[in-house]
Symmetry: C2
Subunit: 218 residues, 2 copies
């Protein structure tokens, strides 16, 4: 079995390898896990011993199939629990992440599958992130963000790239929630501040905010 700590490292490496590609760096891992690079080196060695990662000194680290499977399974748990908390226990989308961080480590096949079934086999979590299926297949988002749109274009909000409470909370106030339709009315040339129409209301949002909103053009 893997400790919570090991699982969190694998998850971090998985997420970084989606961005950084091959050879995830020690510093990047330390950064995400709020630990020190020296601690990361130690853990990487341990994970390498367990054949969870492949590793050459100074060359960064990569997940093996075994390591990827664990990471994806934890992410599956995380996202299913988030759905549960929102759909069944009426939590808001900005409240569920920390709880899911704990629940995800109860990594028992039967529990996960029963939960999935109970929730009706959801495809996305409350933040629009795709839920891996039980074989570990996961469909990644296209990653078109609101900030990529031009004036006049319309889109549906399908996800967020930033999961902080303050961001999610702010979005909700602006009614920029999953499924909402937006139309770009104006873009300030200087700093890409946008005027968008949501639910017939006009709202102004910064580039910082719009570049973290994943959308699908319509």
């Amino acid at each position: 079995m893997n400790s919570f700590t090991e699982e969190n490292y694998l998850k971090a490496i998985y997420k970084l390898s989606l961005k950084e590609g091959q050879g995830v760096s020690t510093n990047a891992i330390a950064d995400i896990l709020k630990t020190k690079p020296s601690s990361v080196t130690d853990m990487i060695k341990k994970l390498a011993d367990k054949k969870m990662v492949s590793y050459q000194k100074y060359q960064g680290v990569n997940l093996t199939k075994k390591g990827r499977d664990v990471a994806v399974s934890i992410i599956r748990n995380h996202r299913l629990w988030e759905v549960f908390l929102v759909e069944k226990l009426n939590f808001k989308w900005d409240e569920v992440h920390d709880l899911a961080e704990e629940l995800e480590h109860i990594n028992t096949h039967k529990l996960t599958e029963r939960l999935d079934e109970f929730l009706g086999f959801p495809k996305f979590d409350p933040h629009g992130d795709p839920i891996p299926d039980k074989d570990g297949n996961i469909v990644q988002h296209k990653d078109i963000t609101l900030s990529d749109l031009s004036t006049g274009e319309k889109a549906v909000i399908v996800g967020v790239k930033e999961h902080s409470k303050s961001y999610l909370n702010y979005l909700e106030q602006l009614q920029l929630v999953l499924g909402a339709e937006v139309e770009v009315k104006d873009i300030v040339e200087f700093d890409a501040t946008m005027s968008v129409l949501v639910n017939k209301k006009q709202t102004i949002i910064s580039n910082q905010a719009s570049k973290n909103l994943i959308v699908k053009k319509i």
Copy 2:
């Protein structure tokens, strides 16, 4: 915050103090937690520093109000999750304990209360154990067992004193589940083996089995 380990010690001390009364012994704790007496002594000192228990060398240990509150809260979580697993995820009563042992440590007030509400504020868990309310009040069972009955008496099964998979599984085969009505038809004088009538079927069970079945006379 308390570690999982600390919470498990507090829970063990709580359960033992219900049986042993004042001054829970080091050996008994070691026994329940499958650890060594010397480890228990170390942890007791730590819990005493945190004002979770009162402790005098060689005199056994007692929970403080603070320690009791934590223990009861963990037990509340445990039993609520067991209800969830059985009622919502269709687990059987012999499958839920180990999962609940993990889930119970996600000790977040809001989660517990929402779960309680979602489940319809259940009073008992799938094994008939009472669920403490949110203020920590808990109604203990009377502890009349099937083995206490005399020939001819009738009773309803309301709980079990033994939670092992094999016992629960066995009971289910005999249809001796919560809510079932039993009538004592015969008791062997030698070893208290019982003949009981359940659902119009006659069954024979050992004293070992009947003394772990909590019942309510009717």
